[in-house]
Symmetry: C2
Subunit: 455 residues, 2 copies
């Protein structure tokens, strides 16, 4: 059987390609993980086509790996067992905006910036903002989050309903339109974060929010990372409802300034944002400033102008790219753990020590309001000593987080990079996860070799 010819009978033939450049584009993500070519790339344009392709693939035990824009960081979209890469770029419609219900229904190929551009017309916005302009399907697949999760929650918290095509082509819905439900078994949360291994998303109904009446952004620099973290923890413990609270260490600020043309003082810095009404914010911000002062804050600078505010967050979002562009020929190893807030200061100190001990250049930053932080370790992937040392740093950071009740991945997902920690983190629950995988995907065609080390 010729898979490509068969696929061209199932969907229009211009939606099936084996063009080498296209295959290469679908062989990697933005991480250091090794690339691998799919056998064929398909571009379904509706749910029925996705269902028909899966039915066919399931019957012939052909791997299917969903693909958004390839901005993942743990190798999720790399088709290590070949087969079909299913690209959702033709399914990029915003299907319905229900302003009154604070809901939007989208196809999986819609990107977050595309959605926000449209929502703005209704005075609404979608909160989840990973660094990349990822697709919403991809963001649901990895349970992405980003800078605003501390106030609004992660991707899993925004999903009201998913249309999912199962391995055998069956189409189900995992939720509904109601804000609350105690009906049936709740499957939204199970599918969110399943990285294409349990089913393929073809429609997402997501929560959106009204654009806040007032937004205030600020930068606060500190003498040390520890003081910056302690100030953040104090602000959160005081119950001040910050919408964003990001740590950027001195090394990262340097890279930001270099890449984005800013001139922020090169010291450990908190980037903060407050959402609310005029009077409430004034009181919150004053309180936050007082708490920062207790940690010897070097200056609390407001970005009142909306352009300056946009520049600040763009600089933050571009940080990984800044490091990549600032180190030509090098790659980044990104760590991504999340610990309980009470363990954050110790975890970040430990991470900094691990980087220093490795002899590699690296930065510490992250969404510390959730206890989720990253380190960026700069390495030459062709240099096996570099790679090993970077992997050692990653390993040390994960081990520390797991020993403190944390998780091996706060938002990037498991992919192939964090599979080795699944048993340690989940214990006997991993056996249940394995049973779930077998139940949903008995022929192991859905993004095989990811998330769950198959027993």
């Amino acid at each position: 059987m010729n898979i490509v010819q068969e696929l061209k009978r199932i969907i229009p033939e211009e939606q099936v390609t084996v063009n080498e450049t296209v295959l290469a584009q679908h062989s990697h993500d933005e991480s250091h993980h090794d690339p691998h070519l799919p056998d064929v790339v398909v571009y379904p344009s509706d749910t029925k086509q996705v269902s028909d392709i899966l039915k066919f693939a399931n019957q012939h035990q052909i791997p299917v790996t969903p693909f958004g824009v390839g901005s993942g960081l743990e190798g999720h979209v790399i088709p290590y067992q070949g087969g079909i890469s299913m690209d959702f770029q033709l399914m990029n419609q915003i299907l319905e905006i229900r302003p009154f219900d604070f809901l939007v229904k989208v196809q999986p190929g819609v990107t977050r910036s595309q959605l926000n551009k449209e929502l703005k017309k209704h005075g609404l916005f979608f909160t989840v903002d990973p660094g990349a302009d990822a697709t919403l399907g991809g963001m649901a697949a990895t349970n992405a989050s980003g800078t605003t999760a501390v106030l609004y929650g992660v991707m899993r918290d925004q999903v009201r309903d998913l249309e999912v095509v199962l391995a055998d082509g069956t189409i189900i819905h995992t939720g509904g339109l109601a804000a609350k439900s105690s009906s049936g078994y709740h499957m939204n949360g199970l599918f969110v974060g399943s990285e294409g291994t349990l089913g393929v998303f073809t429609e997402l109904t997501l929560k959106v929010y009204g654009i806040p009446e007032v937004i205030m952004a600020a930068r606060a620099a500190f003498p040390s990372v520890k003081q910056a973290v302690d100030a953040a923890v104090a602000i959160l413990s005081a119950g001040i409802p910050v919408a964003r609270i990001e740590l950027i260490d001195a090394r990262s600020i340097g890279q930001v300034n270099h890449h984005s043309g800013t001139s922020y003082p090169e010291a450990p810095t908190l980037f903060l944002e407050f959402h609310g009404n005029e009077s409430g914010l004034q009181q919150d911000v004053e309180f936050a400033q007082a708490l920062a002062k207790e940690e010897e804050c070097l200056g609390f600078k407001f970005e009142t102008d909306s352009l300056q505010r946009a520049q600040l967050w763009e600089a933050r979002h571009n940080l990984a790219y800044a490091f990549i562009h600032g180190n030509p020929g090098k790659k980044l190893m990104l760590t991504d753990v999340c610990v309980p807030l009470s363990e954050l200061t110790g975890a970040i100190e430990n991470a900094r020590e691990a980087i220093t001990a490795s002899g590699l250049d690296g930065a510490v930053l992250g969404h510390i309001g959730d206890g989720n932080y990253h380190t960026l370790v700069i390495m030459d992937p062709a240099n096996s000593s570099d790679l090993q040392r970077a992997e050692d740093v990653n390993h040390a950071i994960v081990e520390y987080a797991l020993s403190r009740g944390g998780t091996c991945t706060g938002e990037h997902g498991v992919g192939v990079g964090k599979m080795k920690y699944q048993r340690q983190e989940h214990g006997q629950a991993l056996d249940v996860m394995n049973n779930l995988k077998k139940m949903f995907d008995p022929n192991n065609i859905l993004n095989p070799g990811k998330v769950i080390p198959r027993d």
Copy 2:
């Protein structure tokens, strides 16, 4: 084999009883659903005992039905197939409070008022507040919510981790301590709301919140239910972060006054609560008042005194009891649907018409900020015409909700009462739910005959 004797070998014999009064206590909940006796009641005192009992029950295919305080409303705890009723009153310890992480770890038999009493010492509170003083295990089992879900979310949103004993006695954890995780398959949300049919909870790690700096409560009466609902929807659409927004119709206000000794004006009324800082609240409340005025609000009365505020919410929480006590010999049929906010006004008008057409006495009330409302229909359970008419009202309300994208149960759960709507609401997803049930409970011993109509 004598089950009781065997159980007395597995756990201390004083934790096993067939006392008739105790069996009768475990034969019903607070609903109109028919009672049924268990064969035996057990009181495990730790996780190992739960595991040992389940291993035994699974081996011998004996039904096990978990029991909290029996405050359910859809027959969840009624052991229709006999067997073991597993009462968690000995597992009522608050195991750990982590104020810095806004987390608490409890055993399933802890009640919400017990938890809040303890949390208060740390300036914290647990948000979820169903009418009854239910156990936290029971609340997780039904995905309970209540009046504050509109701001803080439902039970499912508060669960960070569950220790679950599976049908075969295996003990797993479904989450961890970190605020975010993209690791493994997320099973918290699946087990929450599974009503004891997939596993038994033995420990819960829950999110808690700092007691707000300022709390303001208010009552706003309106000429009609429609205007009250429209005002609520306007307040929510304006993005005012109300913590509670409850509708109580005139009939219910009468019952409240009678039962609680209050003298609230007998008109459709919104009970509201705002949480925040002093300045922010002032601005929010003024805006809310202005919006209420546009719906011809008859008066916006603040309960500034904390005692008056407590009285207001106690009156609200006791409403169902007020109806029961006010109608000796009668029972209540409680409906519990949830619809998208845009459908709420129509849904409530439709519900009122259904009650009026039935000729029965009934009230409309609920957590309308989420689109979740109840009707209380008063009936004589010994009168088959009453019962049929009440069931017809329930049916009409559910059908309307499902036809508008809503759910057959917003917070009470499926139990036995809402099983007949599962296919209509979930379509082919019900087959997946059935497969999940079979995977987790192949011998069908866990609360059999609930939630999922077994195929």
